[in-house]
Structures are given as C-alpha cells and as structure tokens.
C-alpha cells in the first residue's frame, strides 16, 4: 500500500498518479454531458441547413439564414412569441408578490400546528405533474358540470357558464391563476428561510421604539429579505423567453389556439408533428440565444445593483 498525501505532487506526472481515481469518477458524467447536452448543441447547425434526414447534418446543404427568414414569415410564429412573453409577464406580475405575502403571513403565525398543516397543504401542488393539474382544472372549470360554474349557476350569480378554458382572454387568465396557485406555497420556502436569517434584535429594537406589527413588517422584515426578492425577480426576468411545454400543452385546446400557442408548443408542432426539423431548430436556437442574453444581462444588472449575482 502506498501512502499518498494531499500535498503537492513531486513531479509533473504526479498529479495524475495521485488523482486518477477522481478522473475515473468523472468519466460517466462527462460522457453524459457530451452525448446528451453538447452533441445536441452541435446539432443546432441544422438550423442553417436544408436538412435532410438521410444525408444527416454533415451532408445536408447549407442555406444560411433561410430557415430563420421562413419562420419569421410564418403567421404562427409572432403569435407564439407574443403569447410566450405575455403569459410569462402575466405570471410574473400576478405570481411574484404572492409567495412574499404568504411567507410574511406564515411567519407571523403563532400557532405552530396550524402553520405546519397549512405549509404541507400549500407545498402540495408543486409535486403534482401538469397533467394531473390540467386534468383537475378541466374537471373543476368545466362549462356545465364543473363545480365552479355549477355552483355559480345554481346561486344565480351568472346565467351563462363562464368560458374559463374556451375563450381566449379567459383562458389566459385561468392559465395565469393556475400557475400562481401551483407555485405560491413552494415559493415561500426561500423567503421564509431569509426571514429567519434576520437578526431578532432588530425586531426587538423596533418594538421598543413603538413600532406596531405592520411597521415592523415594513421596516424590518421587507428590507431584511430585499436581496432575496431582487435575486428571484432577476432570475424570473431572465426566464422570460423560456416557457414550459407541459402546462400550455395540457391546458390548451383548439378553441383558444391563438391564445395558448407558445414557442414550446410551436416547436413541437412544427418540428416533431410536422417533421420540419431545420425550421423548428431555428426557432429553438433563436429562443436559446435570446434566453442566454437575457439571463446574462439580468445577472450583470444584479451586480450593478450591489446584490450578489447568481454566479
């Protein structure tokens, strides 16, 4: 048995002799990254080709930006782009403040039992797939038999079913609310842990100075979680171009096609359903590049503001 030490290796080849086991560990994960992440990154070149499945990406003809030009002129594309940005914007405006408020409320709860039970319930939607949530939404918001419309009709508050999922603007509102509902509880976790990080003496001092609960929240709690709020806001803005596939795909339906079609569903339809691989790749590449610019920009702004960046 050789005794090895973590001190500097004596000669140049020593580090390999010393650390080869660490490199062996890295083989599988690095292979994973190369095959399943970096190979598809090379694959984006078909976005610049007249791609032919049989010739492959090295045999297909190069056509420059032709695919991008074609896609920009497709009537569906601006609709999908606009919906993506609009739905993300609605989600941010409606959904961002809710976890903050909820976290402050939970933090003020004195009854630990009630707090624990409500936290358990509030976190639950985060663990359900969008298929399950979508199924429940279709059930609950259904025009005649769903509990919401049925109850409102019976109470006589409305005389016609509310078209939650079959009218465009209604659909977007429902989509947004469901998103807020799904993420509000889970979103409190980071804020709650930030609140516990606030020095208790600040609250004591505020109390002695005669601050009531609301003043304490405004002058101590909120400034105390300011950096968490800023970081999460910036991260969210950086994600404006990204939209999940499952949620719009499951909640969407042909009746609201112009309101529910987003980039992810557009790419799926054009690329996989209709096999227009090169054009759909061009859309994906456009999305990735703009996304990268947004997230990098957001991070630079965060640093300028004197907050710790995400890197």
């Amino acid at each position: 048995m050789t005794t090895r030490s973590i001190r500097k290796p004596r000669n140049n080849a020593g580090w390999l002799h010393r650390d080869w086991r660490l490199y062996v560990m890295l083989i599988l994960p690095v292979a994973f990254y190369l095959i399943f992440c970096y190979k598809p990154m090379v694959g984006v070149i078909i976005g610049f080709q007249k791609f032919n499945m049989f010739k492959g990406m090295w045999g297909s003809k190069w056509i420059g930006l032709e695919n991008f030009r074609f896609v920009m002129n497709m009537p569906d594309f601006p609709v999908a782009l606009q919906n993506t940005l609009w739905l993300n914007f609605l989600g941010l405006v409606a959904g961002f403040p809710v976890p903050i408020i909820l976290a402050i409320l939970l933090n003020e709860m004195k009854s630990i039992k009630v707090k624990k039970v409500s936290q358990t319930l509030l976190y639950l939607p985060h663990f359900l797939s969008w298929i399950i949530i979508g199924g429940m939404v279709l059930q609950i918001f259904s025009p005649k038999t769903g509990i919401i419309n049925a109850t409102l009709l019976r109470l006589g508050w409305i005389d016609k079913s509310i078209p939650f999922l079959t009218d465009g603007p209604h659909w977007q509102a429902t989509y947004t609310l469901i998103g807020v509902w799904q993420s509000m509880g889970w979103g409190t976790i980071l804020y709650l842990s930030a609140i516990t990080g606030i020095n208790m003496e600040l609250f004591e001092a505020a109390k002695i100075d005669g601050a009531n609960k609301l003043q304490q929240i405004w002058h101590v709690t909120l400034p105390g979680i300011r950096s968490t709020i800023v970081i999460l806001l910036i991260l969210n803005v950086g994600q404006m171009m990204n939209i999940s596939f499952d949620r719009p795909y499951v909640l969407g339906n042909p009746m609201v096609q112009n309101y529910c079609d987003v980039l992810s569903t557009f790419v799926y339809r054009a690329g996989i359903t209709n096999s227009q691989f090169a054009r759909a790749t061009a859309v994906g590449l456009f999305q990735s590049v703009v996304g990268l610019i947004l997230i990098t920009g957001a991070n630079i702004i965060a640093r300028r503001l004197g907050e710790e960046g995400i890197w």
């Binding site: 048995m1 005794t3 090895r4 973590i6 650390d19 490199y23 560990m25 599988l28 994960p29 690095v30 994973f32 990254y33 095959i35 399943f36 992440c37 970096y38 598809p40 990154m41 694959g43 984006v44 078909i46 909820l102 409320l105 709860m109 004195k110 009854s111 009630v114 707090k115 409500s118 319930l121 976190y123 797939s129 969008w130 298929i131 979508g134 199924g135 429940m136 279709l138 059930q139 025009p143 005649k144 038999t145 509990i147 079959t166 980071l190 842990s193 516990t196 499952d246 042909p254 790419v267 690329g271 996989i272 691989f277 859309v283 994906g284 990735s288 996304g291 990268l292 997230i295 995400i310």
Partner: protein, 306 residues
Amino acid sequence: MAEKIITPDQHEIVVKKAKIWTPAQIILTIVIILFSLTCLLPFVNVAAVSFSSKSAILRGDVSFWPVDFETTAYQAIFSDKSMTRSLVFTIIITVVYTLFSMIMTILMAYPLTKKRLRGRNFFSFLALFTMYFSGGIIPHYLNIKELGLMDSPWALILPGMLSTYNMIILKSFFQTLPNELEEAAIIDGANDFQVLLKVYLPLSMASLATLTLFYAVGKWNSFQDALYYIQTKAYQPLQLKLYHIIKGSQAVDVAALEGGASTVATSVSESIEPASIIFATLPILVVYPFVQRYFVAGVTIGAVKG
C-alpha cells in the same frame, strides 16, 4: 411564561402561551386556512366526482361529497390491464432512473469539490454552461433518434440522467464537510473511492435522500419525453396514459359546448377521468407528508450556493 421552541426547520419562535389567539392572529389564521383550502379542495372535489354516478355529475350536483356513491370508474380502471401495466412500468422507470441519476450526480459532484483536481474549472464550466444554453428540443430529439433510443424505455431514463442543479446542491453540501476528514482517511490508507464511499456518503444521507426524492418525483411526473419518444403502448408511462384519457374527455366537453351531439360522450363514462387523476395522484399523496421536510431542506441547501 415565555417558552422557546425551535422547530425542525430552525424557526425560533418565542411563544407566550396565554396570548396566542389575539384578534389579529385569528384573522391571520383564517386567511392562511383559506389559502390552504384552495390546495386541498380541488382534490376533494375530483375525488367526490370520481365516486359519483354519471347522471349526478352531468347535473352538476357533485361538490365535496359523492352523490349516488358508486365505484364503477375504479373497477373499470383496475380491470383495465393497460392501466395497471402502465403503473408498474412507471414505477420501474422511476426506480431505475433515480438510481442511475444518483450515481451520476455523486460521481460528478465529488471530484468537483477537490481543489487539488487539475481541470476542475473546466469540468465545472462543462456542467454549468448547460444550465444557461441548450441545443433546443429538436436537436435533442434527433440525437435520441440517432442513438437508436426511439421508442425504447432508455429514452425515458438516459437523457435526463444528471441534473446540474441537483449536482450543485450535492457539491455545496460536500463542501461543508471539513477537509480534515479526508486527510485523516488518507493517512489511514484510504483512496478516493474509499473516502467517498466510507466517509462522505455516510455523512450526506439527508442530502442524498432529498436528491433521491427530487429525481423520483421529477421522473414520476415527466410527460414531455414520453410524448416525444414513445409510441409503443406498453412503454407508456402513467402521465402519458392520463393525458390521453383527459384529452379524450375534453374533446367531449368541447363538442358539447359547440352544440354537437357527441357519440363519444356516451362511451366515456364521466367519472373515468377524475378516477384516473386520483389513481395517478394517490402514490404521491401517500408518500408526500412523510418526505416533505426533505424537499424543503433541499431547496434551502440549493439556495446557499445556487
């Protein structure tokens, strides 16, 4: 009397027993309970509908308790072999995927915590860059096709095997363990494999449990990969199966709204859809209360150095 209570998630709360239920606290509690109910009642409603008769559902009579209690929908689901087969398939896929993922995550995270490792920055960058840039859906799809994984269960396991986010969580945790542990083990003659297996992993059980759950829930809920890569019915995971059931019954709704008398409407029993939802959710609902605290721990670890 003031009493100090430290809850498991380290909220330190000073409780004055006599004064808990002030008017402000009561209002606060009501508001919180209302929020919580929005997370509970949808399940109660869907469950109630799944146990109700078709005519009661069509009349819109069912709220939070079954009307004309019956279990026909569940009998239909359990007698449908494809449904139970799909459940078993999903369990197998989830277990295999989680196992593979944990191995990959540990193998990537551990070497990256070693400052002495040459090329550490390169490997870190290799991982981190994938969080900010991806080739997009279609190149990934074509990649699976080229690798010959199309319509194979491996297409559901291999492509998402390593989550960089989870890897960073584990790496951050490893970094909190003191270096002296490793040095002591090396003096005792242990090599890197032994240090990882006998020192680091036993000390990281809570973090490992958290990540196991992250991966397992992620796979249990995943739908997109199955939709893209799987055609064979036998390889349809539960979420994809559920999706087809839901879309089937939605088509009926849309047809009804457009005034068209749908013949499909009569063939799809109204309670099948809610019963399938409950069927697919039950495994999560059963496990969830017991494992919830591990998830919460994972989020806060990730926040330290995410």
